[in-house]
């Protein structure tokens, strides 16, 4: 090897080393802003979802329900435009219980991991969990019992039919959790940020602090972004068309359909027309917005 070849191979190796250092995983590009690279690896989140699915025990006892309609205007919602009522339908004929929705939801909503102690007790923070092989999340009941008992008003209903949480107002009395018949609410028992269990995949969703309740928000941030766009560009009445939730996006079988119950053009209304709707027995008379469909096309 002469001198020229030697220098050439050396520089090639150096360049290769530099390039190796510059490599970037796909997931790192997901989040921008601070806290992006901090937190556990996405692999840990996948493992936890697998663990939670293997531990899942509960069963769903499904009964027939009617399609959710316009919400009864309680005192809080009077005067607010109630032209929207968002919800989801989960097609149990298509769903094979793969659990990809859980992972998609966790990454979209920055759901933290839990430590071994909590995992052993079966207390995961996942907003979606498997019950009898079926993904189950908060049903956003129109007549939500959790909101009635919240002393501070942190759990409240938006005019769009979403049972929302104000994390900054939550004092952690856990009354809502005790009063949810389906136990869909999750309590931040751990300080996930301090323990390094949280990771901010999505900058649109805040990390929750220790001691507050959380649960499925129907990807409220996506709806709000779309609404803002409508307002900014003055596009007329907003019906939330074209928005979808992370779990619906992540479902390989398209078993989860998100939409507006009051909009005849919404994919949700189209997918559920002519199908029988089901809801867990304990939620059936609370006017749930998230329902299950199976059989009869």
């Amino acid at each position: 090897m002469d001198r020229r070849d030697f220098i050439k191979s050396c520089s090639l190796m150096a360049v290769a080393g530099l390039l190796f250092g510059c490599r970037k995983s796909v997931l790192e590009g997901l989040g921008t802003g601070e806290g992006n690279l901090r937190g556990p690896s996405p692999k840990a989140f996948e493992d936890e979802v697998r663990l939670a699915m293997s531990q899942a025990r509960g069963r769903l006892d499904l009964v027939r329900v009617n399609a959710p309609g316009k919400m009864k205007s309680s005192g809080l919602l009077e005067g607010a435009g109630c032209n929207n009522r968002f919800g989801m339908a989960i097609d149990l004929d298509a769903c094979d219980g793969c659990g990809k929705c859980i992972l998609a939801c966790n990454m979209e909503n920055n759901v933290p991991l839990v430590n071994e102690d909590e995992a052993a007790r079966g207390r995961f923070m996942h907003w979606i969990e498997m019950r009898g092989g079926v993904p189950f999340m908060c049903a956003h009941c129109g007549d939500a019992p959790c909101e009635k008992v919240c002393p501070t008003g942190a759990a409240n209903h938006t005019p769009d039919g979403i049972s929302a949480m104000m994390y900054k107002r939550c004092a952690g009395t856990r009354f809502c959790g005790a009063n949810c018949p389906a136990k869909a609410r999750k309590f931040n028992f751990l300080d996930a940020q301090k323990l390094g269990l949280a990771r901010k995949f999505n900058k649109d969703v805040p990390l929750r602090e220790k001691g507050v309740m959380e649960k499925c928000s129907l990807c409220l941030h996506r709806l709000q972004n779309d609404r803002l766009r409508f307002k900014t560009e003055s596009l007329g009445e907003w019906r939330g068309r074209g928005v979808t939730t992370a779990c619906a996006e992540g479902c390989p079988k398209n078993a989860i359909v998100f939409g507006n119950w009051l909009d005849s053009e919404s994919p949700l209304v189209k997918a559920t027309s002519g199908r029988q709707l089901y809801a867990p027995r304990e939620l059936a008379n609370l006017d749930p917005s998230v329902v299950f469909i199976m059989g009869k096309r």
Binding site: G75, L76, D117, E118, R121, G122, R123, P145, E147, K148, V149, C150, P151, T152, G153, N156, T158, M166, R169, C170, A171, G172, T173, R174, F175, G177, A178, N179, C180, P181, K183, F187, N188, F189, L190, D191, E209, K210, G211, V212, M213, L228, K231, T232, E233, S234, E282
Partner: protein, 596 residues
């Protein structure tokens, strides 16, 4: 001795949060809440023994009554700690209070927890007043006159408070807790456990109260009846609680045990243990199977017991002479008997607790006739009660008329749980204040000047402190934005030329500001959510009087309820926004002019 590990456990639990004690996936509450229910139950007996006996003209030792009242206060203080430490975010406990803060955020009054909080606070204040009056009776005999009216106020309040506490449970969906029998069940359990506690305390003082033993027996039968009924209806049964609190007390029927000191103490303790177990099972039904008692739970238990003993013994020792009194001997009858002649029997009082002076209960034939509105109890009880009730009603009407409360359902049904406690509080304050003014102040005037100065200074300082706290609360001290940045750098260049065109400002306005201020020139008509106050109304004249630069600073730094937009908007953009605001206001003015 128990206190140290108890304190360690409390500290650990506070530091580690609610995960530290035994809760499973289906239970969110756990030990602190059961301990809270247990201690608040104990807190009821003291007042019961003292106040209810007083109003029912059952003669009672001053010493026993004092001890009972003191036990109420101490167990109430212990009880209050538990729900506070149970909170996920302790420093937000004030949000439970039904007070609107600077942002007009209001507690959700549909929740029983809010009224629970209020009722307990009021109960604490009234118990303190009752105890204090009793304590001061030795020194200012005139005060003993208002003890009976206070007793009448407290008697329904005890039952009221515990009903509200029990409704916390009964209102939920947990099948074990549902049912209208809950208030009765809770009250019986509470009073029963409280009797046992007073029994224990009296035992340590070396007294014996036969009446108490009778009451304990009756309590155990009542509770057993409820348990058996519950067992038949729903099949839930707590065996250990039944044995400890249901069967063992029946040994009181055996005279050998009843007459032995040790036997009595053991029975009282077994009742306490039984009731505690019962509360634990009630709050976390899975105890033993899915939930396992940890060190922290035991520590919390130890903390409760030790804090109570410490507080009780401490105050007992501190007030020792006052409680025993130089002139009170065992067997001496309470001075409330003096009052008895003046009051027109307990029937009149029963009418009074139901509300405003309905008056014509007439006195017993033997006593001379007094006109109803001049009678002693009208002056001491009915008048304050009437004032209290009318103030409460006025308050409700005032709340209903407030613009900011429009979004809060403050109807009569919603505020029902607070009406009696509030009326009782006002009434008691008026009664005590009046008595203080009439009886105590003349005595105080004989004090040395220095002492009077000190006392008035303390009172004034207290008032200032309260006023300051309220001011900070309403002024927004409690709701400071999380990242407030203070910049003193002067505004670089002053020009009114729009560096940003109006069309872009419109976009920014629509996306950033319109959610509160509205897209049109009316600014405040669109009001998004119930949790924000109505934004300031702006018209052309007002904008001009404030000036562009101040408005730019308001946008960037925030003001009162408006958030700071520094970092999200550049200064040039803010300036553009102000100009856009001017244009909107002018347009609105013009269109209004045309409409005219």
């Amino acid at each position: 001795m128990l206190l140290l590990p108890g304190l360690v456990a409390l500290g650990y639990a506070l530091y580690n949060g609610p995960a530290s004690w035994a809760v499973d996936g289906n239970t969110f509450w756990g030990t602190p809440i059961s301990l809270f229910v247990f201690w608040i139950g104990l807190a009821h007996a003291g007042t019961l023994l003292s106040a209810i006996f007083l109003v029912l003209d059952i003669k009672q030792d001053k010493r026993t009554a004092m001890l009972a009242e003191l036990s109420t206060l101490c167990s109430l203080a212990v009880a209050v700690i538990f729900p506070l430490m149970h909170l996920g975010v302790l420093d937000r406990f004030y949000m439970v209070m039904p007070l609107a803060d600077a942002r007009m955020n209001f507690a959700n009054i549909r929740s029983p927890l809010v009224w629970d909080f209020c009722c307990i606070v009021i109960y604490g204040i009234l118990s303190l007043l009752f105890f204090g009056t009793h304590l001061a009776c030795g020194r200012f005999p005139g005060l003993s006159k208002i003890r009976k009216p206070l007793g009448w106020l407290l008697f329904p309040l005890v039952l009221w408070v515990h009903t509200v506490v029990s409704l916390d449970f009964a209102a939920t969906f947990v099948p074990e807790w549902q049912g209208a029998f809950f208030p009765v069940y809770f009250i019986v359990g509470a009073i029963y456990s409280g009797l046992a506690l007073v029994g224990c305390i009296l035992w340590f003082e070396g007294y014996r109260m036969r009446l108490l033993e009778q009451l304990v027996k009756i309590g155990s039968w009542l509770l057993c009846a409820i348990w058996l009924w519950n067992f038949m209806v729903s099949g839930n049964f707590c065996t250990s609680a039944f044995i400890f609190a249901g069967l063992l007390p029946q040994l009181l029927l055996v005279s050998a045990i009843k007459n032995s000191r040790v036997g009595r103490l053991l029975i009282y303790i077994s009742i306490l243990v039984g009731l505690l177990l019962e509360r634990l099972f009630l709050v976390s039904p899975g105890l033993g199977e899915t939930v396992h008692f940890g060190l922290v739970d035991l520590g919390l238990l130890a903390f409760g017991v030790s804090a109570f003993i410490l507080g009780f013994c401490g105050i007992r020792w501190y007030l020792g002479s006052a409680i025993e009194g130089e002139s009170t001997f065992f067997g001496e009858v309470d001075d409330s008997d003096l009052v008895k002649g003046e009051t027109a029997g307990s029937v009149g009082g029963a009418g009074a607790d139901s509300g405003s002076g309905d008056g014509s209960d007439g006195s017993d034939g033997a006593e001379k006739y007094v006109e109803p509105w001049r009678s002693y109890e009208t002056r001491t009880l009915r008048f304050p009660m009437f004032v209290g009730l009318s103030l409460t009603v006025l308050f409700c009407i005032w709340c209903g008329a407030q613009l900011a409360y429009d979004d809060v359902e403050l109807t009569l049904v919603q505020v029902a749980p607070i009406i009696y406690p509030m009326a009782a509080l006002i009434a008691a304050l008026i009664a005590v204040g009046k008595a203080f003014y009439k009886e105590v102040l003349p005595e105080l005037n004989t004090f040395s000047k220095k002492r009077r100065m000190i006392w008035s200074a303390v009172v004034i300082a207290f008032c200032i402190l309260i006023a300051g706290l309220m001011g900070a609360f309403y002024g927004g001290g409690a709701s400071v934005a999380s990242d407030t940045r203070v910049h003193s750098a002067p505004v670089a260049e002053i020009s009114n030329s729009p560096a940003v065109e109006l069309s872009k400002s419109r976009l920014i306005w629509n996306s950033r500001c319109a959610s509160c201020h509205g897209t049109d020139g009316k600014f405040n008509e669109k009001f998004v959510r119930e949790f924000y106050p109505v934004p300031q109304k702006l018209d052309s004249a007002r904008i001009d009087s404030i000036g562009v630069d101040s408005l730019v600073q308001v946008i960037l730094q925030g003001r009162a309820n408006m958030n700071a937009y520094e970092g999200r908007l550049t200064e040039v953009e803010a300036r553009g926004l102000v100009l856009y605001m001017q244009k909107l206001a002018q347009d609105a003015q013009q269109s209004a002019g045309e409409a005219k």
